[in-house]
């Protein structure tokens, strides 16, 4: 008798990618965008999140564990595929491969980003208030700025394209027309969210960022 374990694991993987991990990405977009209004506004956004009740429990159960599960199971899925875009150069097949590459890139990026920010806060090396200036330094350095750009775009792509897969994998977008419409929406979201993230990143490096504070 075989089991439904892989079916259930795959479904959980798909769900967690959107709720809560995808939502966390959107929250990040909004919080970081507050940097366009200066350091003080950014600090306020960070303070607001960290004043949420049960913040550590929220982080553990709604961010860290879901990301770990989605990331580790995702790598397992990625290594199982035998990519074949050379023989089958179709749009969706390219998306299939990019989804796996962007997933791995995002996972590595998240590890580094977590180490630089959340872990340093936990170790007491950085306070929440200092995060804004820390990120400013990261973005003023062209090397780390570029690496962040790659990481952020990978994450946004992975989320938006993953949203398309989610709609298909749960049987919400069934026919080819419905799936195409969702693909358009997913691509538009990718552009919009990427632009907002880039604006937010650039805001940290602007002179006005510290001037107003």
């Amino acid at each position: 008798m075989s089991s439904t374990r892989s079916f259930v694991s795959r479904k959980i993987h798909s769900l967690l990618g959107v709720i809560p991990v995808g939502l966390f990405l959107l929250e990040h977009m909004i919080t970081n965008y507050s940097a366009t209004k200066g350091l003080e506004e950014f600090q306020k956004s960070v303070a607001f999140l960290n004043n949420l009740p049960f913040v550590l429990a929220l982080e553990i159960f709604f961010i860290w564990l879901p990301i770990l599960y989605h990331g580790i199971y995702g790598v397992y899925i990625a290594v199982q595929s035998k990519n074949n875009t050379t023989s089958y150069s179709y749009y969706r097949n390219f998306m299939f491969v990019l989804q796996r590459i962007s997933g791995v890139v995002t996972l590595l990026f998240l590890g580094w980003h977590f180490y630089e920010t959340r872990l340093q806060v936990a170790l007491g090396n950085v306070t929440h208030e200092q995060l804004g200036l820390l990120m400013r330094d990261v973005f003023l350095n062209p090397v780390t700025y570029s690496l962040y750009m790659i990481g952020v775009i990978s994450a946004v792509f992975h989320f938006c394209n993953g949203l398309w897969s989610f709609m298909v994998s749960w049987g919400i977008a069934v026919g080819p027309n419905a799936q195409r419409k969702v693909a358009y929406v997913s691509f538009a979201l990718f552009l919009i969210i990427s632009v907002i993230f880039i604006l937010a990143m650039n805001a940290f490096t602007a002179d006005s960022f510290i001037a107003k504070g």
């Binding site: 089991s3 089958y88 179709y90 298909v168 080819p176 799936q179």
Partner: protein, 253 residues
């Protein structure tokens, strides 16, 4: 006519393999051109005169074929990089040299002959049939509405050829995915008014390891199927049914 056309030749490069465990090698052939040839008639020509392009005598290339009209699926092989039926691969429409290889997703028996029995096993796994046997005459079954019959007919054209399996990045030795065709067959048999009575058994089978969860949405299958079966629509539809079944199991049992 013969004098003019005998000068023209067809170049083929065949990836050959003497047995299941033998290593593969390429052999080139140059055969006389005749109008309206397909890959099967080219292979027949090699069989008639098994001499390679270097002029050395060799063994004839082994292949399988049956219907010669793209309904049995036996002659599937990789032609110029894409899996397809050799009987409908017209020489005039192919770029030369024509590269022929077996569908390596399946165990190779010899040359381009592969063993597709895993597909038959998958059909058994998902119970792709309609049980009508009883200990007494069960009488006529319910009728199928015409509109339903029309789209179900499209699904029924699957010939288990294996092209969708070859094109799928997730059908490979590291995964136990049964492949796109079997998922579409569940949709077909679940649409049948009598088959519908055992719907849950096929849905359950899709939820088992190696089932529908193996799909990664590359959608190569729908682009490759020679019978133009809406495989990805079938998969998404079965995604819906299996998800519903999961919710039911979790929340109402």
């Amino acid at each position: 006519m013969t004098t003019a056309s005998t000068q023209k030749t067809i170049k083929l490069i065949v990836q050959r393999q003497e047995g299941p465990d033998a290593s593969s090698f390429n052999e080139e052939f140059e055969i006389p051109y005749r109008p309206n040839m397909n890959v099967i008639s080219a292979l027949m020509e090699i069989q008639r005169n098994p001499v390679n392009a270097k002029g050395n005598k060799t063994t004839p290339v082994c292949w399988e074929s049956n219907c010669l009209e793209e309904v049995c699926g036996a002659c599937s092989m990789v032609i110029n990089g894409k899996p397809r039926q050799a009987c409908t691969a017209l020489i005039d429409k192919l770029e030369q040299p024509i590269r022929i290889a077996p569908m390596r997703t399946f165990p190779v028996v010899r040359d381009v002959v592969v063993d597709r029995s895993q597909m038959f096993e998958s059909l058994k796994k998902v119970k792709a049939w309609i049980p009508i046997d009883g200990t007494y005459d069960l009488g006529p079954g319910p009728r199928m509405p015409e509109v339903k019959r029309q789209w179900a007919y499209d699904l029924s054209r699957c010939m288990t050829c294996g092209v969708c399996m070859e094109a799928c990045p997730n059908v490979n030795p590291t995964s136990d995915f049964i492949g796109p065709f079997a998922i579409s067959q569940v949709r077909l048999f679940n649409a049948h008014p009598t088959g519908e009575m055992n719907k849950h058994e096929r849905i359950d089978a899709l939820m088992e390891d190696g089932g529908i969860a193996g799909c990664g949405n590359s959608q190569n299958c729908v682009r490759s199927c020679p019978k133009e079966i809406p495989l990805t629509t079938s998969i998404a539809e079965m995604n819906k049914e299996t998800s519903m079944s999961l919710f039911k199991k979790w929340f109402t049992n």
